[in-house]
């Protein structure tokens, strides 16, 4: 069956709508900035990836800009989380299991990948269930899963914890590091210098939370959001919607991913999460502390919380010249960071924005270095 959402004619049609809407920007708008163009932030790493894979960014009119926000779970994981993971992995009675894209994130010392090569007990798994299976195979080892990711991922982690409880698997723990999306968006919008005119909202996070979870953008900040899926047509449809909001002067949050996202989301998933997790304050790399933005284990599950295991940690060391924080907040583009494409490259990332293929700098490095290129 032909993929309707990747149909070149549908995409061309949406681009024509975007061009027409972009031409209307600034007329009648109150903001002088809009005369120059619109900047939309995608708050989801998978959107960064999808846009890059289709080459969409350069198909947009020159006055419509897409920038990446803090929706890359790898990019926002703070240094001390990785330091703790490394310290745990160096103990002979512990096995640390992680999603693959955490392996190359720099800590205060080594990345997990470098530490593994040096003999640390670290393995990559595809899902928390794989981690559960490892724990069953290794009863004398404490198996610790690095719980990183947003609302899409947390239910699977909670489900793994539920299963561990059910079968009495005491050696399965997590190192809590999950985060939720609305608080950093509010933090971004609290910044008067933020130059973002609307958000492309994470489609799969919204499957869990329901898209009404993002209504606060319009209600409290007079900002616009479009919940979109991950195909080229989906993303462009959202851009059309956001431009419409701008041109009409009426902010709003709309769901363009109706085939997967409902207003209320997945209550069953949220119930499992609530059984094990509660909101906690969390540090976001590049942002600092954002209240209520993380998920920690409730106190009755402290036996499964690897953060309670005492380890020696090095003093946290963020690379001094790294400007990931400003990149994550959409303040600068990667080429404005002195390390970009010089000391900081995908093979040797200094900051987290370069590590994950969804990070702004990695995506820019791979897809935007078109010096002297033809279109």
């Amino acid at each position: 069956m032909k993929d309707l959402y990747r149909d070149p004619r549908a995409v061309a049609g949406l681009l024509a709508e975007i061009s027409a809407a972009a031409a209307g920007l600034g007329r009648g708008a109150t903001s002088a900035r809009l005369v120059r163009g619109a900047t939309f932030m995608e708050g989801c790493g998978t959107h960064t990836h999808a846009v890059a894979a289709a080459g969409l960014r350069r198909m947009l009119p020159s006055n419509v800009r897409l920038i990446s926000g803090p929706g890359c779970p790898v990019c926002v994981t703070p240094v001390d989380y990785l330091d703790r993971a490394l310290a745990l992995a160096s103990r002979p009675d512990i096995l640390v299991l992680t999603f693959g894209d955490l392996m190359r994130v720099p800590s205060s010392t080594l990345s997990l990948e470098q530490a593994r090569a040096a003999g640390a007990n670290i393995e990559v798994v595809y899902s928390p269930r794989d981690a559960l299976a490892r724990a069953r195979l290794l009863p004398s080892v404490q198996v610790i899963f690095l719980a990183v990711g947003f609302e899409t991922t947390v239910p699977t982690i909670a489900a793994a914890l539920a299963e561990a409880e059910q079968i009495g698997l005491d050696n399965f723990l997590i190192l809590p590091g999950n985060k939720v999306m609305p608080p950093p968006m509010a933090a971004l919008l609290d910044d008067p210098e933020l130059g973002v005119d609307g958000f492309l909202l994470p489609g799969h996070v919204s499957v869990i939370t329901g898209w009404h979870a993002f209504n606060f953008l319009a209600e409290e900040y007079a900002a616009s959001g479009a919940v979109v899926g991950f195909t080229p047509s989906d993303v462009l449809r959202g851009v059309v919607g956001l431009l419409g909001n701008l041109n009409s002067g009426r902010p709003g949050v709309e769901n363009f991913y109706g085939r997967a996202v409902t207003s209320d989301g997945n209550r069953t998933a949220r119930k499992v999460v609530e059984r094990f997790f509660e909101p906690v304050d969390a540090v976001w790399r590049g942002f600092g502390l954002i209240p209520g933005s993380g998920l920690g284990l409730r106190s009755q599950w402290s036996d499964r919380d690897a953060a309670t295991i005492g380890v020696d940690l090095p003093p946290p060391a963020e690379p001094p010249a790294c400007r990931c924080g400003e990149i994550l907040r959409g303040k600068i583009d990667p080429p404005e960071c002195p390390l970009f494409a010089a000391a900081c490259r995908p093979e040797n990332p200094v900051g987290a924005c370069m590590v994950s293929s969804e990070g702004t700098c990695a995506a820019w490095y791979r897809h935007e270095r078109w010096t002297g290129d033809r279109r």
């Binding site: 999603f99 791979r366 270095r369």
Partner: protein
């Protein structure tokens, strides 16, 4: 070695058990006059006219048995295909094994049979071998290291230095079947219709030459896939490759596994496909030559070579929806993403 027996360290010691292993497992499967002499080196007849070509390869595939092949079958295909990509006709192979103490006899027999089957298909002989056994835990079941000797017929010159602007980039069949199969195996995703494309390519390549096609360069997209090979050719030739996403043949099952595991078909290994850079006016003829054969029935024109200007990206993909996307070399291994 009897059925259900496990390999012992003593099988690698050179003594009686080693001789039993060779006589009982390897020789019956790989039988030829050179190997059966069991001398320290195989003394071969004079080479046919042309320039000798020599290649070496190591095989550590995990799992060693997978839908569509095994490490043994793969080891011969990989070696003869390297020779074919240099424009050589493969003749003789060596086959050295590093085996882990404790592996089951069935695994060794399966891989040996695979080697024999591939050698017969590719019309080559395994003329020298070696066996080492390492203690349990010091290896991963079975590793194989090969060398392959062939001859490039007189007058034939294949290499990236011959690639020219305007050349057509042709692939002999769908991308990524082998890589997708291996990744699927590792994650317990099985399917009746997903198997490795592992196959010897020499005969198919010779059809191109026999038809008078001006073949400038050949590469099999193994480790790192089509993406890596194209970057290497662009780098070495100083030219630019433009690929058409719409033209890339990818089986739906490979697409499904890739989507599920967060992988890209362009970066998945193929072990029975080749990329050919041919003179532009002969692209259609090349496809007509390949398509009647089962291994080439889905051959496709997937791109063209262009001049590369200062600072321009070496490999570019015209995406399905009309965008342009630079295809960079992979940095490190393809890591599965969180969400």
């Amino acid at each position: 070695m009897k059925a259900r027996d496990r390999l012992l360290l003593a099988h690698g010691s050179g003594g009686r058990l080693t001789h039993e292993l060779i006589a009982g497992t390897f020789l019956p499967a790989l039988d030829n006059p050179y190997l059966s002499l069991l001398s320290d080196a195989a003394v071969l007849p004079e080479l046919p006219p042309g320039r000798p070509a020599l290649t070496t390869d190591a095989f550590v595939v995990d799992p060693p048995c997978f839908p569509g092949g095994d490490l043994g079958y793969l080891s011969v295909c990989g070696t003869v295909n390297d020779l074919a990509m240099a424009g050589a006709r493969p003749l003789w192979l060596t086959w050295a094994l590093i085996l882990e103490e404790g592996i089951e006899g069935d695994l060794l027999r399966t891989c040996t049979a695979g080697t024999a089957r591939a050698a017969a298909q590719a019309e080559v002989q395994v003329v020298a071998g070696d066996t080492k056994v390492v203690p349990r835990g010091k290896g991963d079941r079975i590793y194989a290291v090969t060398a392959g000797l062939g001859v490039v017929p007189p007058g034939r010159e294949v290499g990236d230095h011959r690639v020219r602007p305007g050349d057509a980039v042709i692939i002999s069949g769908p991308l990524g079947d082998h890589g997708a199969t291996i990744m699927a195996c590792r994650h317990g995703l099985t399917s009746d219709d997903l198997g490795s494309d592992c196959a010897p390519l020499g005969a198919l390549v010779e059809k191109l030459f026999a038809a008078g096609i001006e073949v400038h360069s050949l590469h099999d997209p193994t480790r790192g896939g089509v993406l890596t090979v194209c970057n290497e050719v662009a780098e070495r030739s100083g030219l630019r490759l433009v690929l058409e996403e719409r033209a890339l043949p990818v089986r739906p099952q490979v697409r499904a596994v890739s989507d599920l595991l967060g992988l890209e078909p362009l970066s998945l290994a193929c072990e029975g496909r080749f990329l050919a850079w041919v003179a532009p006016h002969q692209a259609e003829l090349a496809l007509e030559v390949l398509r009647p054969h089962p291994e080439g029935c889905q051959a496709a024109l997937i791109g063209r070579v262009e001049e590369r200007g200062q600072g321009e990206v070496p490999v570019v993909l015209k995406t399905e929806v009309g965008g342009l996307r630079p295809l960079d070399l992979l940095s490190g291994s393809d890591l599965p993403r969180i969400c």
